[in-house]
């Protein structure tokens, strides 16, 4: 074994990239759940975003347009979930799971002609000056733009929930929809917007895989990332900054265990492979879960 082979600077830099798709999907789901809606269809929206983003990016030769296409695709699919759960009051857990199944099928059909094609390249930003700072520069300032977009969305979500009036309304709707309704807020409208935001973010997360990480379209390429995103939201106790912690913890342990393996560290591989999941559980036990939004998962019907 050879610890000197593990470069902590590069490790931290790569965990930022590794965490990005989960972070993007998770921040969307966080907003959805803060509005009181539990959408278990993140995986389905991610994979749909991945294929939509890929199709648009290949068609226009622009990764940026691809990401927009992915966000639109994810949001459109989430509308289906929103319509069923908000207007037809269907059970959210089951509808979310059905959405995942639907999304997997839809994406596979849409992507049929796109196998074996490479996405247009999406170069890293080496931010001048900041990128040259020793240690910090390579860790923080030499990534592709979507890493920063992800961080901006997290920061924006935090500010929105904490300071914006609309954010307050959203939280009120999530905490107690009867009371929010009594105060004259449009519960269903707020939730629909939140659901679409969640779909768009999941779409971006999926497209990060198909346009940056892999970058190619293959069926089922999200390989369960949506489920991890769901878990990270719970881990974060529905708070944006803890979301960052959760995604980096999960991504970090994943990268670290691969590093230990490559360095020949004598821990059986299967235990190393389990470590990201076990670490997430262990940290959550120590930090305790915060309280879930009061109306999470419940259907709302204005009975007057």
């Amino acid at each position: 074994m050879d610890f000197s082979a593990i470069n902590p600077i590069l490790l931290l830099a790569s965990l930022m990239v590794a965490a990005t798709p989960i972070l993007l999907a998770a921040v969307g789901e966080l907003v959805v759940e803060r509005a009181g809606v539990l959408n278990l269809g993140v995986e389905g929206m991610m994979i749909t975003g991945a294929v939509c983003g890929f199709i648009v990016a290949v068609g226009t030769n622009s990764p940026w347009l691809g990401f927009i296409g992915a966000a639109v695709g994810g949001a459109l699919l989430s509308l289906l979930f929103g319509f069923l759960t908000q207007f037809l009051l269907s059970n959210q857990v089951a509808t979310g799971l059905a959405l995942t199944l639907f999304g997997l099928g839809l994406s596979a059909l849409m992507g049929q002609g796109y196998i074996g094609i490479k996405a247009p390249s999406f170069p890293d930003w080496n931010i001048p000056l900041l990128g040259d700072i020793p240690v910090i520069g390579p860790i923080v300032f030499q990534h592709d733009p979507m890493v920063y977009v992800g961080l901006l969305i997290v920061a924006g979500t935090w500010a929105f929930l904490k300071y914006a009036r609309a954010g307050l309304i959203l939280r009120a709707v999530g905490e107690n929809h009867e009371a929010a309704h009594a105060l004259g807020y449009h519960v269903v409208r707020v939730r629909m917007l939140a659901i679409m935001f969640g779909g768009a973010c999941a779409g971006l997360g999926g497209a990060y895989l198909s346009l940056v990480r892999v970058p190619q379209w293959t069926e089922g390429m999200t390989a369960g990332a949506g489920w991890i995103a769901l878990a990270i939201v719970v881990f974060a106790s529905w708070r944006p900054w803890r979301l960052l912690l959760g995604a980096y913890l999960f991504g970090g342990v994943t990268v670290l265990q691969l590093n230990l393996q490559a360095a020949g560290f004598a821990i059986p591989v299967e235990y190393l492979s389990m470590s990201p999941y076990l670490a997430t559980i262990a940290v959550l036990v120590i930090m305790r879960t915060g309280r879930a939004p009061g109306s999470l998962g419940q259907s709302f019907h204005a009975s007057r």
Binding site: I6, S14, I115, K118, Q261, A262, G264, A266, E270
Partner: protein, 360 residues
């Protein structure tokens, strides 16, 4: 159980599914394929489906092919095979190791339907087994990789610790070592055949730890992308050509080419000459394809690699030719001795020079 067998066998006969039914030329030969992944996986299943399409193209209207994708190993596979047999298939290819016992079970119930099981070892009167000697391709990779590396560190993304994968590691290592005695292998076990995110992370980690050549035994192109991002890292295509990453980082590839075999076996069924066989083909019959070696590889390395391919094609050279020691230093093959297929098929040890343990 016996009653079931008789009913099924009876049904097969009654419905005229026996081989004789199409000997008169009035019926199409029906060939079934059971896939473990989606046809759009761009790797293992994708290449098998390319083989199926080649069969369709080759025989035209004389043959009808059917397939079911993403069939889990276990009772689902057994049902799909039974259903294909009931539906009149004359020949069924089951394309995953995990279908082994199910293939044998179903074959027992349909003695007149021919089965071909990929990468397994259980044969029956109507069950053939076939596999590819991918380690021949790995030898070529090792040969090129050993000369391309400047850091002398080669990263290897392995999937599961099974003989197929271990054989590949050993073959690549032996031939890298041959041309570069200082070479070192860093192996990461991903415990997955296909998970782009994890593969990308594994590749990044290996690159960060100094590897400037990445070999992969997983199916996605994520490691290629990671290598491209790093800039000066060499990769090889796996399962499919991955030519979209040529000429660099992808400098060559191992391609699963099942088409010649599938066409030959279908022809045998049509001719009525099909027999239960055990096939383990390599470069020579074209089951293992070596993708174009790009100009990113120095001309003399390319030439020697191509010479190596030729010597394996002609049968002159076997990648596991002694002297080879096992990892613990004990002698495996003495000078000039060639590995027997039995040992290769069940290979569960590293050769001398590799570090670390095989996960158990």
């Amino acid at each position: 159980m016996m009653t079931m067998n008789r009913i099924l066998a009876g049904a097969a006969v009654a419905l005229g599914l026996a081989t004789g039914a199409f000997a008169d030329g009035h019926e199409k030969t029906k060939v079934g394929f059971v896939y473990v992944g989606p046809v759009g996986d761009g790797g293992w299943t994708y290449e098998h489906d390319q083989g199926r399409l080649a069969v369709e193209e080759h025989f035209g209207d004389a043959v009808e092919t059917v397939y079911v994708e993403s069939v889990p190993e276990g009772p689902d596979a057994e049902r799909v095979m039974t259903q294909m047999a009931l539906g009149g298939a004359d020949l069924i290819f089951t394309t995953s190791f995990g279908y082994m016992d199910q293939t044998i079970n179903v074959a027992g119930k349909f003695p007149d339907v021919k089965f071909e099981h990929a990468t397994g070892f259980k044969q029956a009167d109507n069950v053939s087994v076939y596999s590819a000697r991918f380690y021949e391709g790995r030898a070529v990779q090792g040969h090129i990789a050993g000369q391309m590396t400047e850091s002398n560190i080669i990263g290897y993304i392995a999937s599961f610790p099974i003989p197929e994968v271990i054989r590949g590691i050993n073959s690549a290592y032996l031939h890298a070592k041959e041309v570069n005695p200082d070479v070192e292998f860093k192996i990461v076990w991903a415990y997955t055949w296909f998970d782009p995110a994890k593969e990308a992370e594994a590749a990044t980690v290996l690159i960060e730890q100094g590897a400037d050549v990445i070999l992969q035994h997983t199916d996605s192109t994520a490691p290629q992308a990671a290598a491209q991002a790093a800039g000066n890292v060499v990769t090889f295509g796996q399962a499919s050509d991955m030519a979209e990453f040529a000429p660099f980082p992808r400098v060559s590839s191992i391609i699963d080419n099942w088409a010649p075999y599938y066409i030959a076996r279908t022809q045998a069924v049509i001719d009525g000459t099909w027999e239960s066989t055990s096939t383990w083909d390599g470069i020579a019959p074209g089951m293992v394809g070596i993708g174009e070696i790009t100009d990113a590889v120095p001309a003399e390395v390319k030439a020697s690699a191509e010479a190596m391919v030729e010597s394996m094609r002609s049968g002159e050279y076997h990648p596991f030719t002694g002297p080879i020691n096992k990892q613990d230093g004990s002698v495996w093959l003495s000078d000039g001795e060639v590995a027997d297929d039995g040992t290769l098929a069940g290979m569960n040890f590293y050769v001398e020079g590799l570090t670390g343990d095989i996960p158990q």
